[in-house]
């Protein structure tokens, strides 16, 4: 039964961080190339534009949910399972979500990269 709770927590963490990453990536694409923008309108305007973007705010909230659910899960779950499983599944989840929601071209090169990194992170964090 504890296994079910642990995997449930892992899924919540992965879901929240994938939602957060996708929203933040979308927000920053809407803001535009920060380097070029800063040269044109100045840093304060770039910061205002970023903080005023609704996707950015929801992204930060999702990241906070992911962070606190990780803390919560680590306080009663098995650290050697929760940390690597969550980190590594987030890489795979992000690749799928970026393809579907951000229409990024996730070609074979990127699938291989995401899978290798996911496997490597699982081994390192474990």
């Amino acid at each position: 039964m504890k296994g079910v709770y642990t995997w449930g927590a892992i899924l919540v963490i992965v879901f929240a961080s994938v939602v957060g990453d996708v929203l933040l990536a979308r927000a920053m694409k809407q803001v535009g190339d920060v380097g070029a923008l800063r040269r044109r309108v100045g840093l304060p305007a770039v910061v205002r534009r970023t903080l005023g973007n609704p996707n950015f705010l929801f992204g930060v909230i999702a990241m906070a949910v992911a962070f606190f659910s990780l803390l919560f899960a680590l306080s009663w779950g098995d650290v050697s399972l929760v940390a690597p499983a969550a980190a590594s599944l987030t890489f795979i989840g992000n690749a799928v979500a970026a393809k579907i929601f951000l229409h990024e071209r996730v070609d074979r090169r990127r699938w291989i990269a995401a899978s290798l990194v996911a496997a490597g992170v699982a081994l390192l964090a474990g």
């Binding site: 990453d21 996708v22 933040l24 990536a25 920053m28 694409k29 803001v31 535009g32 190339d33 920060v34 380097g35 923008l37 970023t50 890489f91 992000n94 690749a95 970026a98 393809k99 951000l102 229409h103 990024e104 071209r105 996730v106 070609d107 090169r109 990127r110 291989i112 990269a113 995401a114 899978s115 290798l116 990194v117 496997a119 490597g120 992170v121 699982a122 081994l123 390192l124 964090a125 474990g126």
Partner: protein
């Protein structure tokens, strides 16, 4: 990708790894915080390691946002996963901790993954193409300044 962009990606990697290590070092000094004694959080922030860790994580977040403004999520995430490798190398060579063969395999896999992504384009082309179309449309209708800009960019697009 120019030098400045590689520098931003290196910033994401280093700030995340350094910030996490400082924070974890500081939190081990302050001890655990319970929900009943939330004032412990304030003491934790006063710890210099925790404070530096938070500053570094803020630097991480701003470089991460900068990278996402001109590169795909599926490019930035694998590219900056070298931070995990950095942490393992710091543990091995600065802190003289034992790194097991399985962890060395993990380091090799991540490095291989980063190698795969590094040769490819950092951005899916459609937003750029749309932007260029916008510029052409604007240039065709109005400002001479913008039309000059679009004119100088168009050959680049054709060449690549």
């Amino acid at each position: 990708m120019n030098f400045r962009k590689y520098l931003v990606l290196a910033g994401v990697t280093v700030f995340a790894a350094a910030g996490d290590s400082m924070l974890s070092h500081g939190m081990k000094q302050t001890g655990s915080i319970s929900l009943n004694h939330l004032q412990g959080v304030i003491f934790a922030i006063l710890n210099p390691w925790v404070a530096i860790g938070i500053l570094l994580l803020l630097a991480f977040f701003s470089t991460y946002m900068t990278a996402l403004s001109w590169a795909d999520l599926t490019y930035v995430l694998p590219a900056t996963s070298l931070g995990y490798v950095l942490l393992a190398l710091v543990a091995r060579f600065l802190l003289h901790e034992h790194v097991s063969p399985l962890r060395w395999l993990g380091i090799a896999l991540i490095t291989g993954g980063v190698g795969f992504i590094a040769g490819g384009p950092e951005l899916t082309e459609h937003p750029k193409a749309a932007e260029l179309d916008d510029q052409r449309a604007v240039a065709a209708t109005s400002s001479p300044l913008l039309s000059k800009d679009a004119g100088s960019r168009a050959p680049n697009g054709v060449r690549s």
